[in-house]
């Protein structure tokens, strides 16, 4: 029974950008922090919000809103979802944090075509959950995209 669950269910750390709910595989998330003082990196792409001192390590803050090219502005307070990926320490700047959600594989759908290309390219797919849709972000795709864009 448990084994079956592990196979078909995945856990996601969720967060909000505006009212939209996104999730990242919980295993890829290192930690969640409050908004931290950051140092702006001039000349970097706009989605690079700055550098954060994460207990002596440098994390690069990525504005998810800028990455997704959504038009609205960041709220005054925000949170960081810190992920270690491809040797990078990325801190995704998000509006607020949701619960850890366990989603069943049977509710999974591939990304609908109607989703904007800017967002779609970072997405794995969508889970239908109670009252909402959970968009799954692949942090690997984000890291891949930003490395490619700058280089």
């Amino acid at each position: 029974m448990e084994a079956k669950n592990e196979k078909s269910n995945r856990q996601f750390a969720t967060f909000y950008i505006g009212e939209r709910l996104y999730g990242i595989d919980v295993q890829r998330v290192q930690e969640i922090t409050r908004s931290m003082p950051m140092t702006r990196v001039p000349l970097a792409p706009s989605y690079v919000r700055g550098l954060i001192n994460l207990r002596g390590q440098l994390a690069t803050a990525i504005g998810v809103r800028d990455l997704f090219k959504t038009k609205d502005k960041d709220p005054e307070s925000n949170m960081n979802v810190v992920c270690q990926v491809d040797g990078l320490l990325l801190a995704l700047v998000v509006d607020r944090i949701g619960d850890v959600i366990e989603a069943s594989q049977e509710n999974f759908e591939f990304c609908p075509d109607t989703v904007s290309e800017h967002i779609k390219k970072y997405m794995d797919g969508v889970y239908k959950i109670a009252n909402d849709l959970l968009s799954i972000i692949d942090i690997g795709k984000i890291s891949h995209a930003i490395q490619k864009q700058v280089a």
Binding site: T39, L43, L51
Partner: protein
């Protein structure tokens, strides 16, 4: 045998220790600096190795160790250390190599079986050479000998490698040795020359070189023969050959005790730790520092005394901890340097030179990662020295040097850096060869080559794709050249300096930061952010007071590009604020921005050999910063080289000085300058190369690009068109309290105007080059001023299509005309009748010249020596005086002038014309020396200079100059010359 990884790991580290120690000890032996202790130490190490290898079941390795042990045993029994033949030593070194190879195999979890053929090969080599050397047979013990089929294989291998023995010898190597032994004993070796080629040679060599005098040899042979008679009982080490296991453990025990006694000082005081662990420790210590900082900040706000005390303690302990952890990463440079003993030795042997290497300062410590990073560059340099630097023995003899070439490696601390200096006493860099090669590789043109200074030329070897080795040898010249050395050293924040004297040797200095992790930096502010600039890139800080209009401190603008006059040199300026703004440039121009500021802070930075000034909002402080690399994808922003976490926990970016310079387009110029400024060593203001000069490059019209020697340029100005007034038809501008005539270059040179008058009008200002002559300023109007460029060539005066052009130079592969500014000014003076007196003088002079022609000896009999360091003025002076018919000799500075004078015949020179400001020996010193000499007390001397303060004039007179004249005033000079010569000839 099943072994836990851990025990195997320990075994391997022990092997590494032994091999390292062996290599050092053998190097001592080679240099003949060994004592009995050294031999003992080698012997003991081999003994230990043998024991442990067998214990772990690595019988082949054990066998080789055993062979070495046995081979060295006789040496140990001698009363004092003797020299060992190079052949024998070579075999020892080869064995050591194979041991290392085997160890590496074992490390990769392979068996020593893989190295069996190698082991066998050196095994026999060792036995053979040892037999030769001692004249005894090491062969009898069965355990020494591999099986029959091994021998067949071995023999084939050996034959292939031409290492040993005539083909018709018996299969059994054992017999071979016995035979050889007998032959040696009977002194019959020579007769058998055909049969035993190689061994014979070595014996002969051995005799020739008399490492062992005959007497010692014989005496020793006798002694040895006695011993071999009573072989089994008398030699304590021998029995165990046949029964390795039982005897071994006992022996190992003895040995262990032995070892302990000898090495009491070391045992138990070191622990092997993974580097990874150290790195983690260092990171943790770093984090602790940050926590400490936060605690300190918090406690400083608190009134709780206890907390304050505790936090102070925390502060101290943390700092100490960090410092100590840092030290764990430091390793003595010797770890790398000592390997060179071996490398040099091998190379010397391979190519047939005699080379000795001297290492000092091996204990100097350097961060582990840096040590790794300099290993390859150093190896390359040392190989180069061996291969190209040092001569062959006969060559050295011919140059009356000792046959033995020396390489010196010195490591020491200097100014917070570690300096590693590698020098040799070889032939030095070959000027002609370098030039030939550089031209052949199209790195420079033959024109450039002609006028290149020596040091500048040496810099060529650092260019990519340069290698002077005539043929590719195994030692060097494989296409990786000094350029790789240079880039690798620069990559770790160091630099390379080169010096070479023909016939005396070459010396390279590598300056390396102590550690990569911690860098001294200057913190600056731009906007609200702080940035760090590595101190190594910082040349000086300049604070410009923007309020006063003092000409010396103001910032010049050329079409919006700021320039600052730093001690006479134009320094391009870059605004950090704007460099970081990228595309989001504000509407406000830099000029407007700067005008608002009371003071301007400039950090003068050195980027790959050229200089520029970085305008920052504020200069904050210096700090030692810990460099953290940026995320991979941010590295493509060449503006930053990393980031650091400041004491308050915030992050500051580290500026990449080279990157900024490239981004701001300062690079093209740097390429021109690069080769030479490297040598200038950070002080770009000194004129290092007499034949290079700076040219101001500008456009006179849309298509006409010209240059003026920068030394003739007084200032660069831009005047709004509204300021231009007319005096009659002459354009003038009110300038510094007087009226500045504006000479149009277009008119003067009769250039066709490419642009229509309408275009001219759209420019609301004019660019003017201000020059001065005879205390008068002249403005030369040009279309646009482009750049200041270092030119390493003489002005080619073969093509001059019109008056006013001095000749041509090639700048950036483009022919550029050089304007004859002096001529322009002369013309202006004449045209404008500026100076009635001057005009009179001219007339006077005309008559004077006539007189001069009548009364003085024919000009060709008059020999003039000119001492002037600036190539341009030197040529001008020479041209002027030659045109008057004088015989002119030039010297590049005072030193050269005095040398020329001292080697001249009495009365050979009739006149000395000298500049005042010159390197090595200035004009005042030159005059003093000239007057001090008996031969030249009456030699007329004229100082021609720009130093025109009364104090200087007085001093000039005092030291013996007959006349003290202003540079560029040709008429004055000619008058002076003729008056002096007339006086001399008594007219």
């Amino acid at each position: 045998m099943s072994l836990s990884d851990e025990t195997l790991g320990e075994f391997i580290s022990e092997c590494e220790d032994i091999i390292q120690r062996m290599s050092e000890n053998l190097a001592l032996v080679e240099k003949g600096e060994h004592t009995m202790e050294t031999i003992d130490a080698i012997y003991r190490d081999m003994h230990t190795l043998k024991g442990t290898s067998y214990l772990f079941g690595f019988s082949h390795m054990g066998r080789l160790a055993h062979a070495m042990e046995t081979a060295l045993d006789p040496l140990r029994k001698l009363e004092k250390a003797i020299r060992i033949s190079s052949d024998f030593l070579d075999a020892c070194f080869k064995s050591l190599d194979v041991l290392e190879l085997t160890k590496n195999q074992l490390k990769e979890n392979k068996k020593d079986e893989n190295c069996r053929s190698d082991i066998d090969r050196v095994f026999y080599l060792l036995v053979e050479r040892a037999s030769h050397f001692f004249g005894i047979d090491f062969g009898p013990s069965k355990d020494f000998m591999p099986s029959e089929e091994d021998l067949i294989q071995l023999k084939k291998d050996l034959a292939k490698q031409k290492m040993v023995v005539a083909p018709d010898q018996s299969l059994e190597v054992k017999n071979n040795f016995n035979e050889i032994k007998e032959k040696i004993n009977k002194n019959e070796v020579e007769d058998d020359a055909e049969k035993v080629k190689k061994p014979l040679l070595s014996v002969d060599q051995l005799r020739e070189e008399s490492y062992l005098s005959n007497n010692v040899n014989k005496e020793y042979l006798n002694q040895e023969r006695v011993m071999s008679d009573r072989e089994e009982e008398q030699l304590p080490e021998m029995p165990e050959n046949t029964m390795p296991n039982s005897a071994l453990s006992q022996n190992a025990e003895n040995n262990a005790k032995d070892h302990e006694n000898k090495n009491n000082n070391f045992s138990g005081e070191t622990v092997r730790v993974q580097v990874e662990l150290l790195d983690r420790l260092m990171n943790l210590a770093g984090e602790l520092v940050l926590v400490r900082n936060q605690v300190l900040q918090f406690s400083s706000r608190s009134e709780n005394l206890e907390l304050l005390n505790l936090s102070q303690n925390l502060n101290i302990v943390t700092s100490d901890l960090q410092e100590e952890v840092m030290k764990t990463r430091m390793q003595p440079v010797g770890n790398v340097l000592n390997k060179f003993q071996r490398i040099v030795r091998d190379i010397a042997r391979d190519i047939g030179k005699k080379i000795e290497i001297h290492i000092s300062g091996a204990e100097t410590e350097l961060d582990k990662t840096l040590l790794e990073a300099i290993k390859d560059p150093l190896t390359h340099i040392v190989r180069n020295s061996c291969d190209h630097g040092l001569e062959f023995p006969d060559e050295r003899r011919a140059a009356s040097k000792s046959e033995l070439g020396n390489i010196f490696i010195k490591a020491f601390h200097e100014g917070g850096q570690v300096v590693v200096e590698i020098s040799d006493d070889g032939r030095g860099l070959n000027r002609d060869k370098i030039i030939k090669k550089a031209i052949q590789k199209e790195l420079i043109t033959s024109q450039q080559a002609e006028v290149m200074g020596e040091r500048e030329m040496f810099q060529l070897i650092f260019l990519p794709g340069f290698s002077t080795a005539e043929k590719v040898s195994s030692v060097s010249g494989r296409g990786v050249g000094m350029d790789v050395v240079k880039t690798n050293i620069e990559k770790i924040g160091g630099n390379v300096e080169l010096e070479s004297k023909s016939g005396k040797g070459t010396s390279l200095r590598l300056k390396i930061p102590l550690t990569l992790a911690i860098v001294p930096a200057m913190l600056v502010r731009s906007g609200t952010e702080r940035y760090a600039i590595p101190q190594v890139k910082l040349v000086e800080l300049v604070r410009v007071d923007n309020l006063g209009g003092d000409s010396h401190t103001k910032i010049d603008f050329l079409h919006g590009n700021p320039l600052y006059r730093l001690r006479g040199n134009l320094l391009p300026l870059v605004s950090l604020h704007r460099a970081l703004a990228g595309k989001n440039l504000e509407v406000e121009t830099l000029q407007e921005e700067l005008q608002k500021k009371d003071t301007i802070n400039i950090a003068v930075l050195s980027a790959e050999g050229h200089f520029f000034g970085l305008i920052v909002d504020e200069i904050l402080d210096t700090a030692d910063i810990v460099v953290k690399p940026l995320s991979q994808f941010l590295k493509s922003l060449s503006t930053f080289s990393g980031a650091t976490i400041m004491g308050d926990g915030s992050v500051a970016l580290i500026l990449d000085v080279n990157g900024i310079s490239q981004n701001e387009g300062l690079e093209s110029k740097s390429k021109e300058n690069n080769s030479m400024d490297v040598m200038a060593g950070g002080k770009g203001n000194e004129k290092v190369f007499s034949d290079s000069m700076e040219m101001l490059l500008f456009d006179a019209t849309e298509k006409g690009r010209f240059a003026i020697p920068l030394c003739l340029v007084n200032r660069l100005e831009e005047f709004p068109l509204s300021h231009v007034e007319y005096s009659g038809e002459q354009k003038v501008v009110q300038y510094r309290g007087s009226i500045l005539p504006i000479i149009s270059l277009v008119e003067y040179l009769n250039l066709k105007k490419e642009s229509s008058p309408e275009d001219q009008v759209t420019n609301d200002s004019i660019s003017v080059i201000v020059t001065a002559k005879a205390n008068r300023y002249f403005g030369i109007q040009v279309q646009s001023i482009l750049d200041v460029i270092m030119v390493n060539q003489q002005v080619d005066d073969s093509i001059k299509d019109r008056k006013g052009i001095l000749g041509n130079v090639v700048i950036n592969e483009e022919v550029v005309g050089v304007i004859d500014v002096l001529d322009i000014m002369d013309m202006a003076i004449k045209k404008l009748c500026l100076d009635e007196n001057h005009k009179d003088k001219n007339h006077k002079n005309d008559s004077h010249q006539d007189k001069y022609k009548e009364e003085t000896p024919a000009p060709e009999d008059i020999r003039v020596l000119i001492a002037e360091d600036t190539a341009f003025f030197r040529r001008q002076l020479k041209k002027l005086l030659t045109s008057q018919g004088f015989d002119v000799v030039t010297a590049d500075d005072g030193q050269e002038a005095i040398e020329i004078l001292n080697s001249s015949k009495a009365g050979e020179f009739n006149l000395l014309v000298s500049d005042i400001e010159m390197p090595r020996l200035n004009g005042f010193e030159l005059a003093t020396q000239v007057r001090a000499s008996n031969h030249f007390t009456s030699l007329p001397m004229i100082a021609v200079t720009t130093r025109f303060k009364q104090r200087d004039i007085d001093r000039g007179k005092e030291v013996g100059f007959n006349l003290y004249l202003e540079k560029l005033n040709e008429q004055q000079l000619l008058n002076g010359v003729s008056s002096l010569l007339n006086r001399k000839t008594g007219s």
